[in-house]
Structures are given as C-alpha cells and as structure tokens.
C-alpha cells in the first residue's frame, strides 16, 4: 500500500511538472513568429505577349526578409526572398512567350526584348492585437524597372500589394500559419496587380508599341 501511495504521488508530481512545462511552453510561444512565403504561386491566365523578356533578380531581392520587433509581442520575421524566383518565373512565364534570366539589367545581351528588374522597397505588417481584429495583414511595396533591349532604362513604377488572413481560420496556434497566409496573399496580389497593370503603365505602353509594331496584341486581357 505504501509503495502504491508513493507511486501515485510520484505520478501526480510528474503530471504537475508536465503541466508546468506545458504552461511555460505555451507562454514562451506567445511572442512573434518566423515564416517564409511558401512556393505555391500560380501562372497567370492571359494571352502571352510575343516577346522575350529578361528578368534580373538582385541578390538583395533574393535575400529579402522583413524583421520587426513589436513591444510586448516579440520578434517577427517574414522571409520573401526564397519565393521571388518562382514568383517571377510564373508571372512572366504566363505573360510573355519567353523569359530569360540576365546577369545585369543594363547589359541584357541580344536575345531579349527588354529586362524587368523588380525590387522590394518596403514591407509592413500588422497583427490582430494591433488592429483589434482577427486579421494578419501584410503590405509589400515593389518597384519595377523596365530596361530596353539596348540596356537603357525605359521606365519605372511602384506597386503596392496587400494580403490578409483571418487568424480564426487557423485554430489555436494561428500566428505562423495566418501570417504566412497573409504574406502569400500579398504575393498573389502583387502578381495579379502586375498582370492587369503592366500594359497600362505609360512607359510600358511606349515600349510595347515599339516592340510590337505591326502586331495587334495591345489589349489588357489580350483576346486573340
């Protein structure tokens, strides 16, 4: 009987220790999150322009990560860089007949009609605690530079993308999956916005009309 009582006390003590550990882990997990944009970005469904587009992704863009410390809420990191190659391969692959990476935007070589050089200028995000809502929100400001086949700058324009994700869709421990979903939504929004905006940018229109002289593919949705 005494052994049994001791065994019960020991089991109870172990349960309490586990409970305390659980509480510590739960509290420890209450601050911040570190996510990267998942490689799940679609190809736009548009008529392709009959052009070969060069793409220059700088190392700065490929390494881009937004880090922020929010008082009382810990350290937050959103890593955008690893998704950029897939994003621009899919985006430009859906919009142009051919896409070729180039080593420098101003020296594209002879086999492209132009070069796109994107960069991320600024990232902001907000958490449900900050906005007193259920939503994680992410804003990404891109800047696009378009270079001609001779390496001269044709024009540049900004693009601000936005994504949000409802934390309630992701259960109890929603910080990481919801922030990741908001970042992914922002990337999709950037692709969608770029697709519909590209042919309306004045500098791009001039470049397109020169490159497509004699062609009839200048409508936004490009009906063939």
């Amino acid at each position: 009987m005494r052994e049994e009582r001791l065994s019960n006390q020991s089991a109870r003590r172990r349960s309490l220790q586990l409970l305390a550990l659980g509480v510590v882990l739960l509290l420890g997990g209450c601050g911040g999150a570190s996510v990267s944009v998942p490689p799940a970005l679609p190809i736009p469904l548009v008529d392709r322009l009959p052009l070969a587009m060069g793409i220059y992704l700088s190392q700065e863009l490929l390494d881009y990560a937004h880090q922020e410390t929010i008082e009382g809420s810990g350290d937050w990191t959103i890593e955008f860089g690893s998704a950029q190659t897939l994003m621009f391969d899919n985006l430009l692959g859906g919009m142009f007949d051919a896409v070729r990476p180039v080593a420098a935007p101003d020296a594209p070589g002879g086999d492209v009609d132009g070069v796109l050089a994107p960069s991320i200028e600024e990232v902001q995000f907000s958490t449900p605690d900050q906005t007193r809502s259920d939503y994680f929100e992410v804003w990404v400001r891109y800047r696009f530079q378009l270079y001609g086949r001779d390496g001269g700058l044709v024009g540049e324009w900004p693009l601000t993308a936005y994504g949000k994700a409802n934390a309630r869709n992701y259960g109890m421990n929603s910080r990481e999956p919801a922030l990741q979903a908001a970042a992914l939504a922002a990337m999709r929004d950037a692709m969608a916005f770029f697709t519909v905006q590209f042919r309306t940018v004045p500098a791009v229109q001039g470049w397109l009309s020169a490159e497509l002289r004699g062609s009839d593919t200048l409508t936004i949705r490009g009906s063939s």
Binding site: E4, P42, I43, L45, S133, D134, Y135, K164, A192, V196
Partner: protein, 223 residues
C-alpha cells in the same frame, strides 16, 4: 485505486451523452431564373475575399458547403475553391474578382478564360458571404490544479449567430439565377462540477448543412 476508475466511469458517461446545445436555423430562397445541371457540369463555391472587408467568410464554412454538396445521393461535382482560383488566376483574386454579374461577360468572353472554364466544366459560380459571430456570453468558470488533484467549478453560456448568403451565377447565361440565405442561432452551455460538461450548439455546421442541401435542390431541380 477507486478514484481513477470513478473518474473514468464519469468520463465515459460524459462522452456517451450527445453534448449538443439547441440550434434554430432558417433558410430562404429567391429564384430569379431556371436552373439545372448536366452530368458533366460542375460548380464552385467561393468565399468573398473583398478588400478591405473584415467580414470574410470562414474557410471552414466554404469547405463545409463544398463537402456537403459533393456528398449524398444527389451529390454534384464541386471544384475546390483554391484549385479554381489557381486555375483562373488572376481573375478571381480579391483585387480582380467580378463584383456583379455585369462584370462576368468581360471574363467569360475572353477566349483563354472561356476555354479554361469549359475544361473545368463550370456551370455555376456560388459566392458566399457572411460569417458566424459570438453575440452573447455570460457566467464564469474556475479551474484549479493542486497536489490533491484538479477540477473546475462554474457555469458558462454563450450564443453564436451564423448569417450567410449565397448568390448563384449561371456561367452559361452570365446572369444571376438566385440567392439562398442561411441563418442559425444557438446557445451553448458548459456547467462544471469538477469535470466541465460542454453542450455545444453547432451553429455554423447547421447553417452549412442547410445551405448545402438547399443549394443542391436549387441547382438540380428544374423549375
């Protein structure tokens, strides 16, 4: 040795009781045109992701309606929401999605998009708006853990209110064919004397089941 057996017995009784609260649901239908589907045709259920609304429909509700419409004896082909958005990217993103049926011809008349819609066999688009909110909550419940054991005491109650509306667009005619609204209200209770005993009112699930059943009837019954 008796105490654990007693707790196990209590838990088994608790688990064998159907722990559900009461739910009152209402379904309403407005038909604007005839409907009907052929065997090869499919539909898609999409949650409105309108910018910058924060009244976004939960993924779980859209999934639930999709799943329920696929199942049963009168099950119909329903394309997964994410699969559809990817296949039609970027024309059903928050920034670009058609807000009204008047925007639909611009999409369905594009050869590329029309071809993709045909490949998907899409006949109807179902836009779902609305959400489930907690409208009232009361009571208190305290739990404590001591070396002698753990237990809870108190009483909690809360009311959830689901309100959803589905707008059905016919891709073939490019027009709205009707609307179905599904509302449900239910109160959940959780009394606790050592062990909390939750009586959960499955409000959202009730609204989902009602909407899926009504949509199936609406789409497959020729008026």
């Amino acid at each position: 040795m008796k105490a654990p057996n007693g707790i196990l017995a209590m838990l088994s009784v608790v688990l064998s009781v159907p722990l559900t609260g009461c739910v009152t649901s209402t379904i309403q239908e407005v038909r604007e045109a005839d409907t009907g589907m052929e065997a090869h045709e499919s539909i898609v259920v999409l949650g409105r992701r309108t910018l910058p609304s924060t009244q976004e429909t939960e993924f779980g509700f859209v999934d639930c309606v999709t799943r329920n419409m696929r199942g049963g004896s009168r099950g119909i082909k329903v394309i997964d929401e994410d699969e559809f958005r990817d296949a039609m990217f970027p024309w059903f993103e928050p920034r670009t999605a058609p807000a009204n049926t008047s925007d639909l011809p611009e999409i369905i008349n594009q050869p590329n998009l029309a071809k993709r819609l045909e490949e998907l066999g899409l006949r109807y688009l179902v836009w779902v708006e609305g959400d489930t909110d907690r409208t009232e909550a009361g009571g208190s419940l305290t739990c404590s853990v001591t070396t002698a054991g753990a237990g809870c005491f108190g009483f909690l109650t809360w009311e959830n209110d689901s309100s959803y509306e589905a707008s059905v667009w016919d891709i073939r005619s490019g027009a709205s064919v009707g609307k179905i609204s599904s509302d449900a209200v239910g109160t959940s209770y959780m009394p606790a004397v050592i062990v909390p005993l939750p009586f959960i009112a499955r409000v959202r699930s009730s609204a989902c089941n009602s909407m899926a059943d009504q949509l199936k009837t609406f789409l497959t019954t020729e008026s």
